[in-house]
């Protein structure tokens, strides 16, 4: 059941030079939440900006939900100014979840920028019950705090930055292993160009799962703003997604 929760900011700090922030909110009760799900955050009580902002759960620890976000416009700008103790109104849980993982499965995670958020919740959810191989790409250096769980729970962790300020220099897809069929499942979230080239590289599209983004009015399936043309049908990312399989998506061109 979707809830409206009034959480309290317990930290909101810059964790990357490209205006990336980690926001932790104490929601005051334990809610059943699964990797892949997202929240609609009301960034202000005034009516401007009007809409809530969709944000993937980056982690959930007891009654604390964390979000990893990049400041890209008015809403995230306001969010970045929230101080400790301020109230934040959240709608959650929303959307579907990543598929269940089996013990000892070999899972490839490919994250770009703040797209690592849902993958971080996933890795924290299974920890060492599953064999994770993580490939994370950023445009520039980020603080270790945001990838420390990948470091702890991955069999292998590769990080790259476009300017070479952290890890390898280049786009993370350049560093993926050649044999992608080796993995049981592949999960990815990040810029759409990255998702598209990954999709082209993986033969068995049924193994691939993306967490997708689309502009959202409501996040609950009443406004039809978030339509996305899939291979065989239209999807509404807030209800049918945000997680869609490689078999369901379609990339133009």
């Amino acid at each position: 059941m979707v809830r409206e929760l009034f959480g309290e900011v317990i930290s909101n700090v810059k964790v990357g030079i490209k205006n990336i922030y980690l926001l932790k909110i104490k929601i005051g009760e334990v809610v059943e939440l699964y990797p892949g799900q997202f929240a609609m955050i009301k960034v202000t009580d005034s009516f401007d900006p009007f809409l809530r902002r969709p944000m993937s759960l980056y982690n959930v620890e007891k009654d604390i939900c964390s979000f990893l976000y990049q400041v890209v416009g008015r809403g995230t700008e306001i969010l970045s100014k929230k101080r400790i103790g301020e109230e934040v109104n959240l709608l959650l849980p929303l959307g579907n979840t990543f598929p269940k993982l089996n013990k000892q499965e070999k899972i490839l995670l490919v994250g770009g920028g703040v797209g690592i958020a849902p993958l971080n919740f996933l890795i924290n959810f299974y920890k060492d019950k599953v064999n994770f191989y993580s490939y994370l790409g950023f445009s520039s250096i980020v603080s270790e705090e945001i990838y420390k769980d990948f470091k702890e729970y991955s069999r292998e962790l590769v990080i790259s930055t476009e300017d070479g300020s952290l890890g390898f220099k280049g786009k993370v897809l350049e560093f993926l292993p050649d044999d992608l069929e080796y993995f049981d499942k592949i999960f990815s979230c990040g810029p759409s160009l990255m998702l598209e080239s990954l999709w082209r590289r993986v033969k068995d599209k049924g193994k691939l799962y993306f967490s997708l983004e689309e502009k959202m009015g409501c996040g609950i399936g009443i406004c039809l703003s978030c339509a996305l043309k899939g291979r065989d049908r239209m999807f509404h990312v807030c209800k049918d997604g945000p997680v869609l399989s490689g078999m369901e998506v379609q990339f133009d061109g």
């Binding site: 979707v2 008015r74 409501c218």
Partner: protein, 301 residues
């Protein structure tokens, strides 16, 4: 009679709060949030004869104090609507208004005819959608077309007929006169305003169809003005719609002359808004009837 109760034409509403078409799905989506039977009613997402895929992305964009949308009447079409939604809607214990739309006039007649077989409160003619190439707003700006469609639907349908107006029309009161003559029972004032958004980062219009529908708090004063003017003309009951986000807004509409209100964009921000407004109305109208304040502002200046 309950203080909150109001009548519009042949229908009784347990309170004046309705949810607007396109912002409450087909009703059932909101049942997960609260029992929508407490509302005065709901207006379902506009349906067309054949299903429509809707417009390409993006479909929504923000502007100060409001949003622009270009959904493009995505809907499942009459057949599926009847099979999947009507059985549920027929069981609701509140007024269900079914919004219909079409690119050709004949589609309205066909829809009205088919829907005669089912049990619901009223038909709302969407002659005001700004996000389609044919029909919609283009019908709504032309007084004769509005009158003609209304007249024929009134003849065909066994339900009360409401018409949802577009603010793009230059002669609103003439249009309403035509609707009254044609036998319409109420007018909904308004659908969205035609607006434009430019994506300055990419230096192009945001929406593929360039123009889109503007709604939300920013349009409230513009709509209120028309509610006021129409009330002065005393033509048909007015259903006010535009920019309502809280209970003060509801009161403003009633005082300006609306008998009912519809809540649109606010549902997107707060799925419980309908429930909250009904609860506040109960509180506010403990010792007074809604009927007593409709249009009251006209006496107080």
């Amino acid at each position: 009679m309950d203080n909150l109760e109001v009548k519009v034409g042949s229908l009784v509403f347990k309170n004046p709060i309705l949810l607007a078409s396109g912002t409450c799905g087909y009703g059932k989506e909101l049942m997960e949030f609260y029992d929508i039977n407490i509302l005065g009613g709901i207006v379902t997402k506009s349906i067309t004869l054949k299903s429509r895929e809707g417009n390409p992305n993006p479909r929504i964009w923000e502007s100060y104090g409001g949003i622009l949308n270009s959904i493009g009447l995505e809907n499942k079409g009459l057949e599926k609507f009847i099979a999947e939604e009507i059985p549920y809607l027929e069981k609701l214990n509140t007024n269900v208004v079914i919004s219909i739309a079409g690119e050709k006039q004949e589609e309205f007649y066909e829809l009205a005819k088919e829907l005669n077989n089912y049990n619901f409160s009223a038909l709302e003619l969407n002659l005001s959608c700004p996000n389609v190439d044919n029909g919609g707003m283009l019908f709504g700006v032309d007084k004769e077309t509005v009158k003609e469609i209304t007249k024929k639907v009134v003849k065909i349908s066994d339900k009360p007929v409401w018409v949802k107006l577009t603010p793009q029309a230059s002669n609103i009161s003439e249009i309403v006169k035509g609707i009254k003559k044609a036998g319409g029972e109420a007018v909904v004032v308004f659908n969205t305003y035609l607006g434009l958004a430019i994506d300055w980062k990419n230096r192009r219009p945001v929406f593929k169809r360039v123009f889109a529908g503007y709604s939300g708090p920013a349009i409230k004063p513009l709509v209120l003005r028309h509610v006021w003017e129409l009330y002065e003309e005393n033509l048909l009951p007015i259903v006010g719609c535009g920019g309502i986000v809280n209970f003060c807004d509801v009161l403003e509409y009633l005082l300006a002359g609306a008998t009912l209100v519809q809540i649109g964009s606010a549902n997107l921000r707060d799925p419980w808004i309908g429930k909250k407004l009904v609860e506040e109305a109960r509180e506010y109208f403990k010792y007074e009837r809604v009927n007593e304040i409709i249009g009251l502002a006209h006496k107080n200046y």
